[in-house]
């Protein structure tokens, strides 16, 4: 028998211990393979000129790899812990450190190879299904089945590399307990790392905040953000439990009902418990928040696109007015036949500015009303001392800049009649838009530069594609740098593709995070079943009732599964509140609906897990 045989026998004959680790590995390979399979699909190369998809999928693979790394490391830690007794025996028989490391390395390598094999086979089997799902979720892609040789090689190398790395790290995380502790018959209570977590928070949090203030957005900040999140949540749960424990003891309530058993139970495994809570809270927060956007983002594509591009086509010539008019005529001729076709020339006066992209413009009341008519918006009627502001980026409310204020106050225009944040050109084209009365416009336009844009629209804005835009550009002999021709469909297509892709990728990642939570909580509950059953069977012998035991078990679950969920729900509301200020559409309404769905799901899951866990413990007690 060699060490390799030994490792192989360990896995083969005690597969249950390795099962979780093995499944985590298989799952990681599977997810990574799915992403690379999609990312390298030949159909994407044709559609994706700006490589948006490539970047998204690349980011997704990185996230999934990082997550796999953490999850696998966690499960390695678990299976090493479960085998501490075997290691003590080996130690005493005289296995050297090198032999330990080799044994653990071999075990990891064997599991990794099988996981790679099975993960890839699963990936191949399911790739057609997942490509079909992707195709139906992401419009306009023909994701036919292809033999994914490159993704296969990539998966073998990258995931294989990851596994190799973990195999090399694994022996290091095996904290060598003293043999004497391992040989003792009684398990020891876990230590409370409150002080350690406090120190971690004190060190990491200020650094993270400092990096934020410095606006240092290098890779560093993300690492510190993650570390801060982890250490802070670990610390917070530690604090919560300690405060709760303190009050229970002070008030004497610890001696009422089963509180003593509940609290001492939690304390006995305090480190594992708090680790489980912090990990599932972080994952829950990510899932609960992202799910709102996964559902919401594809729903509001056309609304959001209209906010940044209100017309089917917009044309402007920056250099030659006559040529511009001719070209606009050509475009109009071409588009005329499309249903609901309308066109409008928007004339305005522009402040002189050296930079071509800075466009402070003044619009006459009549002109604006034409635009409003064109876009089905409300018309306005301004007095001579009034002005009206129009938005320019589709998100923020417009404000009167000092330059314009100085200019129009000279004409006695001082009163704001109102504003509309909806834009009248493509987002960002104008720097500011101010409407004044026709009379004032007459006088103002004398000192300003006259300019115009041409707007074209049709009943279905989404009609048309990037190809149509290219055809139009060819027709008018488009000259880069001298003129601009934009289409709604260009923005819509990009938004549509990106959002749907992000949703697809995001939902797969969310599912893997969910599985992550499940495995963390499962391993916490089930790896101690034997130990706990023994403890409870003693308590039952001295008079603990079944109902009381049920209550105690439910309490464990409330700490581990419900509290992290509730915290995560609150956190996700805060995150959604912050993001709302940055996005075009508000997701509050959807978040409310989602929260109800979450709560319902959590309640059902809680009831199911509670029943199963109670049954498992009862079976164990009464069978023994």
């Amino acid at each position: 028998m060699t060490l390799f045989n030994f490792a192989y026998n360990n896995i083969k004959r005690d597969f249950k211990t390795y099962l979780y680790h093995f499944l985590s590995c298989v799952f990681s390979v599977f997810i990574f393979f799915l992403f690379s399979n999609l990312a390298m699909h030949p159909a994407l190369k044709i559609v994706d000129s700006g490589s948006t998809i490539g970047i998204i999928l690349f980011m997704a693979s990185i996230i999934s790899m990082l997550f796999s790394f953490v999850l696998i490391l966690y499960s390695v830690g678990n299976f090493l812990k479960n085998r501490s007794k075997q290691f003590a025996i080996l130690n005493i028989i005289g296995a050297s450190n090198g032999q330990f490391n080799t044994l653990i390395f071999f075990e990891n390598i064997i599991i990794s190879i099988f996981a790679l094999l099975i993960g890839i086979i699963m990936g191949l089997v399911f790739s057609k299904v997942f490509l079909m799902i992707a195709q139906s979720l992401i419009d306009g892609l023909n994701l036919y089945f292809y033999f994914p040789l490159t993704p296969l090689i990539l998966t073998v190398f990258l995931m294989g590399g990851l596994f190799l790395l973990i195999s090399l790290i694994a022996p290091v995380i095996l904290k060598k307990k003293k043999i004497i502790d391992l040989l003792k018959k009684e398990e020891l209570a876990e230590k409370n790392h409150f002080l350690l977590s406090l120190i971690a928070v004190i060190i990491i949090l200020p650094i993270t905040i400092y990096l934020h203030i410095q606006k240092n957005f290098s890779g560093f900040i993300y690492i510190f953000e993650i570390l801060a999140g982890i250490s802070f949540s670990y610390f917070i749960y530690n604090l919560i439990f300690n405060i709760y424990n303190f009050f229970m003891e002070k008030s004497g309530r610890i001696y009422i009902k089963n509180n003593l058993i509940k609290l001492s139970n939690f304390k006995y495994k305090i480190n594992t418990n708090i680790k489980t809570m912090a990990a599932s809270m972080i994952l829950f927060s990510i899932i609960l928040t992202s799910f709102v956007y996964i559902v919401g983002a594809p729903l509001s594509i056309s609304k959001d696109t209209q906010k940044i591009m209100p017309y089917s086509y917009m044309y402007a010539n920056w250099e030659d007015e006559v040529k511009g008019a001719k070209k606009a005529e050509l475009i109009s001729e071409e588009l005329k036949s499309i249903g609901g076709f309308k066109e409008l020339t928007i004339s305005y006066s522009k402040l002189k500015n050296k930079a071509r992209t800075v466009r402070h413009i003044i619009l006459s009341n009549t002109m604006y009303n034409e635009v409003a008519d064109f876009l089905n918006r409300e018309k306005i009627n301004l007095s001579d001392n009034e002005y009206f502001l129009i938005g320019v980026d589709g998100k923020k409310n417009p404000v009167l800049s000092d330059t314009i204020k100085d200019l129009i106050s000279g004409y006695g225009i001082t009163k704001e009649a109102g504003f509309d944040k909806k834009i009248i050109s493509i987002s960002g084209y104008f720097t500011s838009v101010t409407v004044v009365s026709d009379k004032n416009y007459e006088s103002l336009s004398q000192v300003l530069v006259k300019d115009r844009i041409y707007a074209f629209t049709q009943s279905d804005l989404t009609n048309g594609s990037i190809k149509d835009l290219e055809a139009l550009k060819n027709l008018i002999g488009f000259e880069d740098g001298k003129e601009s021709l934009m289409s709604y469909s260009l923005y819509y297509d990009i938004e549509n593709l990106t959002r749907r892709l992000v949703s697809y990728v995001g939902s797969i990642l969310c599912i893997s995070f969910l599985i992550g939570i499940a495995s963390i909580i499962y391993s916490r509950l089930y790896s101690f079943v034997d130990e706990e059953s023994k403890k409870y069977s003693i308590m039952i012998k001295i008079g603990l009732s079944k109902a009381e035991l049920k209550d105690i078990l439910a309490s464990t679950l409330r700490w581990l599964f419900v509290l992290p969920f509730m915290t995560a729900l609150v956190i996700s509301w805060i995150i959604i509140g912050i993001i709302n200020q940055l996005t075009l559409t508000s997701y509050t309404g959807l978040a409310v609906i989602c929260s109800f769905v979450y709560l319902l799901t959590e309640l059902i899951l809680y009831i199911i897990i509670k029943r199963k866990y109670q049954k498992k413990i009862f079976d164990n007690i009464y069978e023994a």
Partner: protein, 251 residues
């Protein structure tokens, strides 16, 4: 001299420090079969742990086959454990993922012995201990007495200088316990294995050549078998009941 213990002391530090062993001196010659007895809490297991590299003594020295294991680095220590020490525990401590045979040759595997040596040694030792028919069974398929014999086989396959046994019969019924003790005797006589065994049972201790009784961390008495088994056993019993006090209290 295979084991020489001088001025051995073990203090457990804590809020209240506790002196578990105090100034123990002991010498064991090659081929001796020594039993360590004492009431619970007397320090007998601590003594075994401190002389067997499991627990470090606070002061004093331990020499096994002329070498001090506490002065070794971890690599030397593991080699030392492999070559010089054999362990038998109350809970058997077999590796449950291995078959009986694989458990026995595990120390040879760690020693990188060649397959032929493994085979011959396994045959020899399993023959001697009467477990040849169990070699392909898994550890959960055999009885407690058989498991302990397997553990003994694993402990002696490397021909160690000392066999250390901590309550080897603690988990066995009296019949199985007797069988295991007969094996110890056999190993001691036929292979000249030096044995140091901790037990609380005078019947088990009476299989040895010499019994040390430990009380409150000190050696209280040394009882030697002068080729009179009956007398030896009586002497152990008397000393123990004196210490335990139960029988005397009644009077």
């Amino acid at each position: 001299m295979i084991l020489k213990v001088s001025n051995l002391e073990k203090i457990y530090k804590g809020k209240i420090s506790f002196k578990a062993l105090e100034n123990i001196n002991m010498e064991v010659c090659e081929g001796e079969f020594v039993a360590i007895m004492g009431p619970s809490g007397s320090g007998k297991s601590t003594f075994l742990n401190t002389i067997s590299t499991i627990d470090k003594p606070t002061s004093g020295s331990v020499l096994i086959a002329g070498k001090n294991p506490y002065e070794m680095n971890s690599k030397q220590l593991s080699t030392f454990r492999r070559k010089e020490l054999g362990f038998v525990f109350q809970q058997f401590n077999l590796v449950n993922t291995l078959t009986v045979g694989e458990n026995i040759i595990l120390p040879l595997t760690l020693d990188k012995a060649d397959i032929k040596t493994m085979k011959t040694k396994l045959e020899e030792i399993s023959e001697l201990l009467g477990i040849s028919h169990l070699l392909h069974k898994r550890t959960y398929e055999i009885s407690g007495g058989q498991a302990q014999r397997v553990a003994i086989a694993r402990a002696v396959i490397n021909e160690p200088s000392i066999l250390l046994a901590d309550e080897p019969t603690g988990n066995l019924d009296s019949k199985a316990a007797k069988d295991v003790m007969k094996l110890f005797k056999k190993l001691n006589e036929s292979m000249n294995v030096t044995i140091i065994m901790v037990t609380h049972d005078p019947n088990i201790a009476s299989y040895s050549d010499k019994t040390y009784i430990i009380k409150d961390g000190n050696i209280y008495q040394e009882i030697i078998n002068r080729n009179d088994d009956k007398n030896y056993k009586r002497e152990i019993l008397n000393t123990m009941s004196l210490l335990g006090g139960d029988e005397i209290d009644i009077i």
